[in-house]
């Protein structure tokens, strides 16, 4: 995902420290920095460095540090603090943090990392606050701290029956030295009052009543509306544009060329049109004529990539990705060899809220209101292209109307800042849906040529894959690499994984469960084919290949003084698959045209298995009847209602991969809106049953890992229903016709 925060976070957590200070208006300020630079900043009397404020009236304000994109983090992270603080959730207010890595450590929504990165630390922040409140109460009662306890929002002295509300203690807390985070006590999970209870989205009411502000709703004084027109061919440059004609349009305030650079993930060339209303600015595009220097990418196309892949498949892979044992020997001795080619297309993110950003550039300072998943990357782009210092950029993280990885890139952020600078006035840039679909960082397409060997007892003895992907030289296009541990590597002795690359002029990037969202389709469908060729039940065959419960070690070295990298636990993976099969009634008799399919996948530290029942009509038109999902994300489901929401959403999202594709022709994207890039709609949404298998492991994230098994479970169900194997996405229903 381009973000590998585990190591950094473990490093910085050791440097974590607490500070307190008097809050404006009285009360407790509880600051806690995860950042290495925090020490320097904490010395300054900034009232911003804070996670918790307690007002004299007892209301607790908790800062939500990470961007909210619909994953529920604005509710969930404060729950961790509130639990250990023993706050009354009904008297908690939540405040969105500014983007400030010096105060909060990395703030991003990606990799399903928020839970593993904050589970320990933020509970300790809450606990430290509770310890201070206990100390403050003990001081005012002149009794040992050990005699005091808390109920939500109140410290009590059980022996005497005396109580003091948190609000009454807040002022005194400002004089108490904060305890060491590493040593504060944590609750027995059996006593949790907030963690493990369903807490609805804290912004639910504002959303349902239309009062919630998203990025696109931001308004700043003196603001002008803008559109930005880029070359349809990725990275193309402006040669000339009929700016005078555009400026002559009624209501248009200004139009100018913005010069960009060469990096596809930076500021690119384009024409900005400004008006008092966004619609007027956008309408002026009708008369805009730009001569573009399209560049070399104009010679690329999806058809060309497929031809290149076919040619590469004729030869050996350009590079070895993994070589275990003697796959060639196993193929020579096999009772059966199964061969197949799989392919999947580029995909767009298509957040419901089109990309947008509001920017003000004044006196060398830049202020942006950005629906971003990854503010620091945006700060870097602004620093690079506007020539300002990082500390001169203020980023307000505004609720995102969807993320899915698209908003890890901040191209629209630097565009808005560059336009505002050039215009000399604040600007709100809003992209059209066409801009969004045609200027994305796409989930890369890919091609796989697979081969498996099965012995006389129907056991999988070898597997090889020639993966044709995108990149140049040593490098891969973003999100276009495959891990050498892709299952069944490490589970069986003979593996040959090789890779070849096609140069690509199209920008790619992480889409929800990057890599996994495509590889699960390929490997979990192919293993299904092998199961059938081996004459075995698809669930039983998968369990057989997994083998005994054990952890397949990670190939990555343990960092000095750090934790060993996570391995792949076959026991946990088998656990979810068995339970999903049981819940779905695996093996039951179904009429022809209806079938059950299964798939499992491990990604983002989460173990998932999915069973789908689907029915195909004789013409191949199909319907998903029902979906069963079992996940193992550790010992604790922090917010059960949102956990189920995330899994349901992953299923609906994953099902859209059956029909969506981005096609490149002449270096530009063909699709442009929801008619030719379809998403799942209400009439296609199946009932979804979600179960969590709780195991004695630290809790991990849920934004992504439920998605990868969805598409292979569907394709395997369609095979069971029709006998037709889907090896290429999107699904062409004509391929499923049966009689």
């Amino acid at each position: 995902m381009g973000i590998h925060p585990l190591k950094d976070a473990f490093e910085t957590s050791r440097r974590a420290f607490l500070r307190t200070g008097a809050a404006t208006g009285g009360g407790l300020l509880l600051g806690f920095s995860l950042a290495g630079k925090g020490a320097a900043r904490a010395a300054a009397p900034a009232a911003l460095n804070t996670y918790v404020r307690i007002a004299p009236d007892g209301w607790v304000t908790i800062v939500a540090k990470n961007p909210e994109i619909g994953q529920g983090i604005k509710t969930m992270l404060p729950m961790l603090i509130a639990e250990e603080l023993d706050a009354d959730w009904e008297k908690v207010r939540i405040e969105q943090a500014l983007a400030d890595a010096a105060l909060y450590g990395r703030q991003f929504a990606g990799g399903s990392m928020a839970t593993p990165l904050h589970w320990d630390e933020l509970r300790r922040v809450g606990s430290a606050g509770r310890q201070m409140l206990l100390t403050a109460a003990a001081q005012s009662w002149s009794c040992p701290v050990g005699e005091c306890d808390t109920t939500p929002g109140v410290v009590r002295h059980a022996a005497s029956g005396r109580t003091l509300a948190y609000g009454a203690l807040a002022q005194r807390c400002a004089t108490i030295a904060p305890p060491e985070l590493a040593t504060v006590p944590l609750k027995d999970p059996g006593t949790y009052r907030i963690i493990g209870k369903s807490m609805p989205n804290v912004d639910g009411e504002a959303i349902a009543t239309g009062r919630q502000q998203f990025g696109i709703d931001v308004k700043v004084p003196g603001m002008t509306h803008a559109v930005f027109v880029k070359c349809p061919v990725f990275g193309g440059k402006v040669v000339s544009a009929n700016l005078d004609e555009v400026k002559a349009q009624k209501g248009v305030r200004d139009a100018f060329v913005v010069k960009g650079g060469d990096a596809l993930d930076g500021l690119l060339d384009g024409v900005a049109i400004l008006a008092d209303s966004w619609w007027v600015a956008n309408k002026a595009r009708d008369v805009l004529k730009v001569e573009w220097a399209e560049g070399e990418t104009a010679r690329q196309s999806s058809a060309g990539y497929a031809e290149a892949a076919a040619k590469l498949f004729e030869g050996e892979p350009q590079a070895v990705l993994r070589k275990d044992g003697d796959a060639a020997g196993a193929f020579a001795k096999a009772a059966k060899v199964v061969e197949a080619e799989y392919a999947y297309p580029f995909l767009a993110h298509a957040n419901m809220e089109p990309q947008n950003c509001t920017a003000r550039v004044e006196g060398g300072k830049v202020e942006v209101w950005a629906p971003t998943q990854n503010p620091e990357e945006g700060r870097g782009l602004i620093v690079k292209h506007l020539g300002v210092k990082p500390e001169d950029v203020t980023i307000h993280m505004v609720r995102c109307g969807g993320g899915f990885g698209r908003r890890l890139n901040n191209d629209w952020m630097v565009e808005s800042a560059a336009i505002a600078k050039q215009a000399g006035r604040p600007v709100k840039l809003v992209w059209t849906r066409q801009d969004d679909i045609q200027h994305d960082f796409y989930r890369p397409a890919g091609f796989h040529k697979l081969k498996a060997a099965v012995d006389g007892e129907g056991r999988l003895t070898a597997l090889s894959d020639h993966f044709v992907t995108f990149g140049q030289g040593e490098g891969f296009s973003r999100s276009a690499a495959m891990s050498p541990v892709e299952w069944p590597a490490r589970a069986i002795p003979n593996i040959d994984y090789g890779v070849s690359k096609i140069p690509l002029g199209v920008p790619t990037g992480p889409l929800r469960a990057p890599g996994s969202n495509a590889l699960a389709f390929v490997f979990q469908c192919f293993i299904d084919e092998v199961a059938h060729a081996a004459g075995k039940d698809p669930v039983a065959f998968r369990l057989e290949v997994m083998g005994a419960p054990r952890v397949l070690a990670s190939p990555a070295p343990t960092p000095p003084g750090g934790r060993p990298p996570v391995g792949y636990d076959m026991g946990r993976q088998a656990g979810v698959l068995k339970l999903a099969a049981e819940k779905a009634g695996w093996g039951r008799k179904l009429p022809r045209g209806t079938g059950l399919g299964c798939a499992f996948y491990f990604s983002h530290l989460g173990y998932f298995a999915t069973v789908i029942q689907a029915t195909a009509a004789r013409d191949g038109a199909f319907k998903v009847d029902k979906v069963w999902v079992v996940g193992d994300v550790g010992s604790t489901i922090i917010n059960p209602i949102n956990a189920a929401n995330q899994v349901e959403g992953s299923v609906i999202d994953g099902l859209a991969h059956a029909k969506g594709q981005i096609t490149i022709e002449n270096g530009r994207t063909v699709e442009s809106n929801f008619d030719d890039f379809p998403l799942t709609r209400m009439n296609e949404a199946p009932p979804i049953e979600v179960h969590f298998l709780k195991t004695d492991n630290p809790p991990t994230g849920l934004g992504e890992p439920a998605l990868p098994p969805v598409m292979p479970a569907l394709c395997n169900a369609l095979f069971a229903a029709t006998g037709k194997r889907i090896r290429k996405l999107p699904i062409d229903t004509a391929d499923l016709a049966w009689s």
Binding site: E68, I69, G70, G72, P200, N201, D203, G204, I207, A208, T209, G210, R211, F214, I216, K219, H225, G251, D276, S277, W278, W279, V280, K283, A350, N351, M352, E353, P354, R399, G401, G402, G403, F404, V430, R433, I637, P640, I641, N642, A644, N645, Q646, E648, G649, S650, I652, D653, N673, F674, L679, T680, R681, M682, N683, A685, P687, I688, V690, F692
Partner: protein, 158 residues
């Protein structure tokens, strides 16, 4: 030219191009930002408002064609159906990112005003024009049924 329309019970006059869609009149001229822009082509439903109680895609409705009374998400709670729908949305924790939900609620309120006890097929028909990229459909269905006073199938363990 100047157009006067009834929005949320008030007469509002705007001086704009007659082709300007109602969506942009609401958002940029009247500062009613609850109605959302999603596609500009009536493909996603994020901009759904009521005109005389009927669901209308504001992104393709020119201001010059608006003659009826416009109700937006900001005021739909003043109707008994709208209020029930909003309450059910909150109770079922429907929103994830929340961006499409104003449009969903407007479509659902119009459905229930016309069809107080909708079947699953009625819900499919009324709601399939509203995309939700986060995939909140199972809860949207449940919330509509709750607002209608119909039994809600709930397979959740929690």
């Amino acid at each position: 030219m100047a157009y006067t329309i009834q929005v949320n019970g008030q007469g509002r006059t705007v001086d704009v191009d007659g082709e300007m869609p109602l969506l942009w009149v609401l958002r940029d001229e009247l500062d009613l930002k609850g109605t959302k822009f999603g596609c500009g082509a009536a493909l996603c439903g994020a901009c759904t408002v009521h005109v005389d109680g009927e669901p209308v895609r504001a992104c393709v409705t020119p201001i010059s064609a608006v003659t009826g009374k416009v109700t937006t998400i900001e005021a739909v709670g003043a109707t008994s159906v709208g209020k029930k729908v909003q309450a059910a949305w909150i109770a079922h924790d429907v929103p994830q990112c929340g961006y499409c939900q104003a449009g969903q609620i407007m479509s659902a309120s119009a459905l229930l005003a016309a069809t107080p006890k909708p079947t699953d097929a009625d819900i499919d028909e009324a709601m399939s024009g509203n995309l939700c990229r986060c995939g909140t459909y199972t809860r949207i269905r449940a919330a509509i049924k709750q607002a209608a006073g119909l039994p809600v199938a709930d397979s959740r363990e929690t």
